[in-house]
């Protein structure tokens, strides 16, 4: 992590959810007393059917929403009641990859990746040096000045991964990163995520892709109807 929040606690798991529930209105329960922790350097798949609560966990970790009950911490920072003012700082410390890539369509690939550094006030000189390096790392070294619409889905997702890595985060959240990709691009993206994990970044992969989970042979947390039904150190897709 690049900065130390005031209420950050030392020697904590990278992610810790304690008895987290998320209710929408009186009738809809997205998560029910969910507890788990993820240590630094792990690659964990969070799986489950649509509506199981996977994306709710991502939204809670990004402070898009707040928990109804329980507590949640990221990198030792208790974000249960994080203020809106601190939300940008939290997000700059988490790399995030989305199913729909969420690239800015009117910015080039270079500018999209650079934007993530510009928001934190990084110097232009450093941005000009670092961005091409990271894009080279994800295989887009020759596509710097193209717009997202000019790239294939796999390339757009790699650009999105480059943007998520540009801060050198210790945590990468990938929310259905292969949901819009064919099998070849899916394999490439998963390889890339494994490499990132091998370099020490904690990776949380939210997916319902059975093949991806089964080939990874890493920890799998399975959700169903808002509760954890299994948490296996070397798991398979059990639903």
């Amino acid at each position: 992590m690049t900065s130390e929040p005031k209420n950050k606690q030392k020697n904590q798991p990278m992610i810790e959810l304690k008895g987290v529930s998320k209710l929408y209105g009186d009738n809809i329960t997205a998560l029910q007393s969910v507890s788990f922790s993820i240590v630094p350097g792990e690659l964990v798949s969070v799986v489950g059917r649509s509506g199981a609560g996977k994306s709710t966990i991502v939204r809670l970790l990004l402070a898009e929403e707040k928990v109804s009950r329980g507590s949640i911490s990221v990198g030792g920072w208790d974000i249960t009641n994080v203020s809106r003012r601190d939300v940008p700082q939290l997000r700059r410390q988490i790399g995030t990859v989305f199913q729909d890539f969420k690239l800015l369509p009117k910015k080039t690939i270079f500018e999209n990746v650079a934007f993530a550094l510009e928001v934190s006030g990084e110097a232009s000189k450093i941005i000009r040096e670092v961005v091409p390096q990271v894009l080279q790392l994800v295989g887009l070294g020759n596509r710097l000045h193209q717009y997202p619409a000019q790239l294939s889905g796999g390339e757009q997702q790699r650009a999105s991964i480059a943007r998520s890595l540009i801060h050198r985060p210790k945590l990468l959240l990938a929310d259905e990163p292969t949901g819009n990709l064919d099998s070849i691009n899916t394999a490439e993206i998963i390889d890339l995520l494994k490499k990132i994990n091998d370099l020490g970044t904690t990776v949380v992969l939210v997916t319902h892709n059975r093949d991806v989970v089964n080939t990874l042979r890493k920890r799998v947390i399975t959700l169903d109807k808002g509760t954890i039904i299994s948490d296996q150190a070397v798991g398979r897709y059990v639903l």
Binding site: R91, F115, S124, R163
Partner: protein
């Protein structure tokens, strides 16, 4: 600070260039608003100038009794000059009145004057007031007893004058209020057009705002380029809209002068004299309005 400002300006200009059609549509709407507001102001000022011109042509002629001496008339002139809202009092002597009657060439008048053999006319005072309403107060003042021995035909003529002036004054007020109301309504519509144009411009970029938020941009970092864009829109719209309006006014003023008279309706002169104030106020108003609209519009999409 300099780097941040440079970044905000770069984002703003880049966004305007890369969303060129949106930029043109938004800019044209705002420029049209400037043009419309200026036109409304021109109509308002034009009507006021016409009404003022008609008012300036009104006067009140007081006919004095033939027995009133020049000294008494001068005392009366001083007294009337002392009344509020009196712009000018012109003394016309008995001899001048007689001469005017002779010059009129009316055969019956000339025959009557010959028959009488002496000057039957009294002197006159021509009173000019600052506006039509002021005449009513002057008439009320002159109806007082101390003037009754000096001014002839007070009851009849004063009542006739008063009725005319009252009617004219009411008409002038109605014209002014109507012009003001129309201006206010159209100004409100113009404001809504700007408000909506800014909201639409930001609505089309709502997903980008969400993405910016998700990669850690602060609200102020996201708002900055939009505010810079609005500043650029406001400046260019005031310049373009103002230039179009002034061009049209420049071309139209000769026709106005021909119809109403240069000294009566001079819109070009008014706008040239007050250009800085008028277009400066429009710029400030546009900036404030678009900042409020942008803040409200962006705020909706910052909630992620």
């Amino acid at each position: 600070m300099i780097a941040a400002t440079h970044r905000v300006l770069r984002f703003a200009l880049q966004s305007m260039w890369r969303n060129l059609w949106l930029t043109i549509a938004t800019g044209a709407t705002i420029a049209l608003t400037v043009f419309s507001l200026s036109s409304l102001l021109a109509i308002h000022v034009g009507i006021a100038q016409v009404v003022r011109s008609v008012e300036s042509q009104l006067d009140l002629t007081l006919t004095l009794y033939p027995t009133v001496t020049e000294s008494q008339a001068n005392t009366l002139v001083v007294a009337i000059n002392g009344l509020p809202n009196v712009k000018k009092v012109t003394y016309v002597s008995k001899e001048q009145v007689l001469e005017e009657q002779k010059q009129s060439g009316d055969a019956e008048v000339l025959r009557s004057l010959e028959a009488i053999g002496e000057n039957p006319f009294g002197a006159s005072l021509i009173v000019e007031a600052t506006d039509s309403k002021a005449y009513l107060a002057i008439i009320d003042e002159l109806k007082k007893e101390q003037y009754s021995a000096l001014i002839e035909g007070q009851e009849k003529h004063f009542e006739e004058n008063k009725n005319f002036l009252q009617n004219f004054s009411n008409f002038a007020d109605k014209v002014r209020y109507a012009a003001l109301a129309v201006t206010a309504v159209f100004a409100l519509i113009s404001a809504l057009m700007v408000f909506n144009a800014v909201r639409v411009a930001i609505y089309t970029q709502r997903e980008e705002i969400t993405v910016m938020r998700l990669v850690g941009a602060t609200s102020s970092f996201i708002r900055g380029p939009y505010l810079a864009e609005l500043f650029i829109y406001s400046v260019t719209s005031v310049i373009i809209g103002g230039a179009l309006f002034m061009g049209l006014l420049y071309a139209g003023q000769p026709y106005l002068s021909t119809y109403f008279g240069q000294e009566n309706v001079n819109l070009l002169g008014y706008f040239q004299d007050n250009a800085l104030l008028i277009f400066g106020a429009q710029f400030v108003g546009l900036m404030l309005l678009s900042m409020v609209s942008a803040s409200l519009a962006v705020q909706r999409y910052l909630s992620v």
